[in-house]
Amino acid sequence: MADSGSEDIAVIGNTDLTPSESENNLKNTMAEKGTSLLKMMEISVAEAEKRTGKNAVNMQETYTVYLIETRPVDAASEGTNPVPDSLWRRYSEFELLRNYLLVTYPFLVVPPLPEKRAEFVWHKLSADNMDPDFVERRRVGLENFLLRVASHPDLSSDKIFYSFLTEENGWKETVFETGFQAKADSRLKALNATFRVKNPDKRFAEMKHYGDELQSVISQLLRVRARAADRLYGVYKVHGNYGRVFSEWSAIEKEMGDGLQSAGHHMDAYAASVDDILEEEEHYADQLKEYLFYADALRAVCRKHELTQYELEMAAQDLTSKKQQREELATGMIRTFSLKGMTSKLFGQETPEQREAKLKMLETQIEEGEELVKERNAECEEFVKSAWVDIERFKEQKDHDLREALISYAIMQISMCKKGIQVWNNAKECFSKM
């Protein structure tokens, strides 16, 4: 067996792993990735609280804040358990952090935030952002986000990230001071533009396609799963009606009464058990959602590559055309159609001085252009190299995480089946005593 970490040993042979246990396994995996940050500190999003205050347009609003706790690693292992450092952040600050990371590291697949609004809900699940269950799941999602960033080989050493975890006041200003927003424009351009790249890197094109497909299939999966959850809820709850009618029926029976009554209780228990079952399944849905949003991040990297490539190609194209112009000017041969060429044909050629000036200008432009192309080329190569490393890292992470998610899903299903068998066996015993 490959030495891929302790979490596998915990899962194999032990199908009674609860979702929270498998969540811990995921955290352990990330911790073991051995980033310097996680070697230093433990990070968690411990609590969530409601606050009210005035917003930017001076209106009252209610929002939720999350408590980020950090604790030095050694202290915990020494067993002294000191009070952790903590600060409160709201969702919009997490968003700001992520945007900063996206812009600053366009070649990295930046971990996604939990969803802004509840999607793929089935009827018992609230779509309300203030609903305590939603807030709780968001808390978990935010913690996951921080751990993902903290376990990334490159992102974990970012200073802004560090101060997000440690500096409550003035962090926002620090972020804006980096001037990342200027770069944000080019990122937006990348995401929204429709340009054609002549020689796209095949690998990136395939990756983008993969991202599209992944996003589509996970969306579909989440949609159908939510509908199925609704139906399953119905099946279990209707069985509760048996509880009531058996109880009423037992009242008119002599010998059959006890058996019926007790069986009825088991039917009630069966009906009630679906709430826990579906809550656990939401955990699985959240794991899928993370990768739904990860797919988006992946596509963003591919799009950024395209933009970089495009800009290189534009620069190269521009250089080529300038060189051509120079040649034409130098040899007097007009190879390509140009307005200048036509007008000079019609109205006579320019003076030698004019030509000289033009040639000189072109030379300068060509020099600059060559520099630009060299620059862009280097950029492109750098981008491709860094991005591809991260994409490979991401692929491995994705394969591992999704596999773990499927395993914990199977374990969930096994637990549900075992509970079902137990309840019906109990009921059967009561029936046989009727």
Partner: protein
């Protein structure tokens, strides 16, 4: 008690019944009771007359009085030593120019001397069962006749020749005959005998038709108003009313569950394949995703089986009990009528007491009818309660079993998936 004892009104007739100690009482101890507890008058053959004038068939050994003698010789009638076994199986479609219909094979094995042969195998159609039931109701009006499955099905809505429908019907017909065969009185009925043994039932039916009066002869004497139903029969009536209600509720719940499960199944059938299409563009995850897809598919099949079984086995039995209850209610009503007639006639006689005319034999006969009816009914009631208890124990245990089987199938599917999902670690180790 002798015939000279003044008869009181039927409402206190219970005492007389208890003294009689009906031989068909379901209590085990009844069989060991000595015959001298019996009212000597009921030991003789009485002329019991139906309202339409035809005599009740008391010449057969099945009449309540002489049955006593048989019981003392027979072993425990509750099923340990049965001497009559009946089954209904092998449905076949018959196509003629006039119609298409299904016949069922009815097999009988018996040691009873009432039958010429020890074994019979005849083919009967639903019509024949219906004929039998009508004859039984006619000739054994004081007894509860088991119900038949519904006669009419709306053509075009239900496929009368579909496998499920035929099988459901066959089971109900089998149940019907078994219940008749197990009944200590009904099983000795000559029409039942003919049904089981006659090569050409139509001839017998034809003969019977001549004497038959109307659709089904109702042993109901109309026009007599009952003062009060005796307590124990009133209690039966109340029980039946509540029981009907509860059965109806259970039926509705079962239907609703089937519906919800069917909707769930529809979603599952869409859910599984999504994993499959996902696996088509994954490398490492291809096998795990395919595995999940297969698993969901297995669970879907298991669920489909569960809903089908519940539909075919559970619901029909519930409905049949509804019919059974209706039959029982009708018997109670008939009993009321008989008692009402007796009370009315008795009052008339008492009213004329001053004339010192002897108690008319008509009133005596009425009283006998009441007493016999009450005795038969009580015995049938106890038997019915017993059977009901067994039937529902079986039915509900069956329901539990099917659900257990469903979960076990799903469990097996998911458990077998786990090693497949964890397999990556092994292969990775090898390739490394």
């Amino acid at each position: 008690m002798s015939a000279g004892t003044p008869r009181s009104l039927a409402s206190s007739g219970q005492r007389a019944l208890q003294d009689i100690s009906h031989p068909l009482s379901a209590e085990e101890s009844a069989l060991s009771r000595s015959p001298d507890v019996l009212n000597p008058n009921s030991a003789g053959e009485r002329d019991l007359i139906l309202a339409n004038g035809t005599p009740v068939d008391t010449s057969s050994p099945a009449s309540s009085s002489s049955l006593l003698n048989r019981l003392q010789l027979d072993d425990d009638l509750d099923g340990e030593t049965r001497d009559l076994f009946v089954t209904v199986d092998d449905p076949k479609k018959h196509v003629s120019t006039m119609e298409t219909y299904i016949t069922y094979r009815v097999c009988t094995k018996t040691t009873r001397t009432e039958f010429d042969l020890p074994e019979y195998s005849v083919r009967r159609r639903y019509q024949d069962f219906d004929w039998l039931r009508n004859k039984l109701e006619e000739s054994q009006p004081t007894h509860l006749i088991p119900p038949l499955p519904e006669k009419f099905v709306v053509k075009g809505v239900v496929d009368r020749f579909s496998e499920e429908f035929v099988e459901t019907r066959r089971k109900a017909l089998d149940k019907f005959l078994k219940r008749v065969a197990d009944h200590p009185v009904l099983s000795f009925n000559e029409h039942f005998n003919a049904f089981l043994s006659a090569k050409d039932l139509n001839k017998r039916q034809g003969l019977a038709l001549l004497t038959k009066m109307g659709e089904s002869v109702k042993y109901v004497t109309v026009g007599y108003k009952l003062r009060a139903r005796p307590l124990e029969f009133a209690a039966m009536g109340e029980y039946l009313d509540v029981f009907t209600q509860k059965l109806g509720t259970i039926d509705r719940i079962a239907q609703r569950i089937i519906k919800e499960q069917s909707e769930f199944l529809i979603e599952l059938r869409e859910y599984g394949p999504v994993y499959s299409s996902w696996s088509s563009f994954e490398e490492d995850l291809h096998d795990p995703l395919e595995g999940v897809s297969g698993c969901v598919s297995n669970c879907s099949s298991a669920l489909e089986e569960l809903t089908e079984d519940m539909s075919e086995d559970f619901l029909p039995v519930l409905r049949e009990y509804g019919l059974y209850i209706e039959s029982m209610k009708n018997v109670l009503k008939k009993r009321d009528q008989v008692q009402a007639e007796y009370e009315t006639k008795l009052e008339a006689v008492v009213f004329r007491e001053d004339k010192k005319s002897p108690v008319s034999s008509d009133v005596e006969k009425c009283q006998d009818r009441v007493e016999c009816f009450n005795a038969d009914l009580k015995a049938d009631w106890d038997r019915w309660q017993n059977n009901k208890r067994q039937d529902f124990r079986q039915l509900l245990t069956g329901m539990a079993d099917r659900n257990i089987q469903y979960y076990e199938k799903c469990l097996a599917a998911w458990e077998s998936l786990i090693p497949l999902l964890q397999d990556k670690q092994d292969t990775k180790g090898e390739t490394n």
